[in-house]
């Protein structure tokens, strides 16, 4: 099995170019939904926003920071593998997974709480968009956690070295994207 980095025409590895292409399509997916929300929110007289107090902004703010922190720990994990420090890498990946799990737990609480307060998927247009947008995001977080678990296991087995850790970078790119989507969803759903 080749240990040399792939010599590609562009100088970017196949996997990395592939991930960037995939993320471009994801931007269009979330972009389509977010545009639909923005258009109906600004154009429809019937998109009634719940009162700020029902939205649970402080908790969601904490959750946003949890996710952003997990992105930071991801960068630290990448730095660790670039140094060849597997133990540090494992710790930071676990922190990243932890941040993602906290995010999901808070979301589960939020969903359950809002649903009981009357904001459901079909109660009104806001509820529909809220659960659809954040729900699609949650699915992507879950996928990301699966990816991180693979990275953790593979890294523990010595799969990644300072010279060859393309997949860690690609996983990182995906995770940062998931974080970025939340950083956009949070203000447009909770704050504005």
């Amino acid at each position: 099995m080749s240990t040399a980095i792939a010599e590609t025409n562009t100088g970017i590895s196949n996997a990395k170019l592939g991930i960037w292409s995939f993320l471009a399509s994801e931007i269009m997916l979330f972009g389509g939904l977010i545009s639909a929300y923005v258009i109906l929110r600004s154009g429809s007289a019937h998109m009634v926003m719940p009162p700020r107090s029902m939205m649970g902004v402080p908790l969601a703010t904490f959750n946003t920071f949890a996710l952003i922190t997990s992105s930071v720990t991801m960068v630290l994990a990448l730095a660790a593998i670039q140094e060849g420090n597997i133990e540090k890498f494992k710790r930071w990946i676990l922190c990243t997974i932890g941040g993602g799990v906290i995010f999901l737990a808070v979301k589960a609480y939020e969903y359950q709480h809002k649903w009981h307060e009357g904001i459901t998927l079909s109660s009104n247009l806001f509820g529909s968009f809220y659960y659809t947008l954040t729900g699609l995001h949650v699915i992507h977080v879950i996928g990301g956690l699966g990816l991180m678990t693979y990275i953790f296991v593979a890294g523990s087995r010595g799969r990644f070295t300072p010279d060859s850790h393309d997949r860690v970078e690609c996983a990182g790119l995906y995770w940062h994207f998931v974080d970025l989507v939340w950083v956009i969803l949070f203000p447009i759903l909770y704050l504005l």
Partner: protein, 593 residues
Amino acid sequence: MTDAHAHGGAHAHGHGEPQGFIWKYVFSVDHKVIGIQYLITSLLFLLIGFTMMLLMRWQLAVPTPADDFDPEKLGMIRSLLNWIFPESMPFGFMDPVFYNQLGAMHGTIMIFLGVVPLGVAAFGNYVMPLQIGAPDMAFPRLNMMSYWTYLVGGIVIMSSFLADGGAPQSGWTSYAPLSVVAPAGQTYWLIGMVIIITSSLFGAINFIVTTLNMRAKGLTLGRMPVFCWAQLVTAVLLLLAFPVLEAGAILQLLDRVAGTSFYIPKDMIYGATVFPRAGGGSPILWQHLFWFLAHPEVYVLLLPAMGIVAEIIATNTRKPLFGYKELVGSMIVIGILSFVVWAHHMFLSGMRTSLANLFVTTTMTISIPSVAVLTCLLLSLRGGTIRYNTPMLFALAFLPMFGIGGLTGLPLGFAPTDMHLHDTYYVIGHFHYVVAPGSLIALLGGTYYWYPKMFGRKMNETLGKVHFWMTVIPMNFVFFPMLIQGMYGMQRRLATPTDQWHNLPVQGWSMMIGIAAAVLMVGQLPFLFNFVWSLKNGEKVGENPWNATTLEWACPSPPPHGNFAKEPEVFRGPYEYSVPGHKTDYWPQDEAA
């Protein structure tokens, strides 16, 4: 995802042990096997979609009983139809719901299961890695997943016929709110589309990374064949446009199954009562999300075909293509502009004139690079030594046919004239001209052109020529009258057009169209026979039966796993034909100086 390995020769020598049948042919990761899988499957879907249309054209040709109709004495065709479809076609007359189901399925199957998989996935997968000198695609396993996802999506869509209430019946365009209240088949459509979109996205990522990253030494982007450029632009269109439809489809799915109101206006009246939903949504939102994909989608249908025509013309004129840079540049501009024209499908949705004007402007603009491509291909013929073999006949026919199709698009892109033509048969005539005598003709040409590479034998020339004439001529008799019917005001999607008296004067054309369509179907029989017969009996060929210059002709026919014995090195552009002073009239890209 998959390996980030160098591909210089890593795969060239195959795997250690011989592979079992399942891994070698069914779940193969070889782009050539996958390309052929797509080829066979898409041709089958085209046949299925065509059969549906034949049933519809029968209904349109004779929509109502004649004066001397006797239910006891049905003709041969009527009694056959009555026997096959007792509920949907009683006495051989089509139930309007069945008509709408066939209509929606015809469009969906032809576009998403037929032409795109044929043009993009079959030919792109098979030919592109060969033309860039690569041993396979960047992500072979993803490629395999792409095919199987497509097949599953196709099966889900076809199974909608068995749903409660039958197949989707809201048009391939699935406009809300009709599609939201439609029977269960529509849900199958939505789920099937999400699956097919996933398959397309896998493929698009693969094509982009492969074309950009895995070209052989010396194959700069400026030396890449036009076909590969066409596939690259197409892949970018699929990558960026399909997710928006996916978003829209998710919203429609939720509207149908979860009680949301993304597309349901407030207090919508359904039947005799108010539809019991929160409301507040917008049916126009669906149209925007749909057409944002569906417009670039038509260029996905077109660009690979243009690429194929370019390749066939270069080889069979024995001279370089006219305007390589202009061809490639125009294709890129078409790709970019295709994202800003979508609302020309929505001129009658109530948009204000200033917005309509914007889309008229962008639509008129996009016709310029389209004409540029056609002009370059036409000028490529000038001064050439033309070889009139079967692929060349198809490639030549593409030019005037697409010309007619493109020209008929102009009154549609111009809002004031679109007022009269929207939702009439004129639209059907226009888009079929570009995709049937247009793209499909080119794709058939591609089949004859690359068949020898795929199977090591040529298809029979005589049968090919019979197929050609029995396709091109009937197609014109099928689609040209539709332009006339449309200008006369005949609306689309009507099972019994003669119910509207103003359609009676043009009803005669429908009879001609029906007969021509039947002849067209008969004309495909030589092709089907030829395809299968030539597998074992066609004239055997070597590496380069057409004496062409591009890299797919620099390896055995068919190429082994890994394609090239060693990575080719490229020394010149893709169309160095009739170079002055050179001993042969073609100078392959990989031949040393």
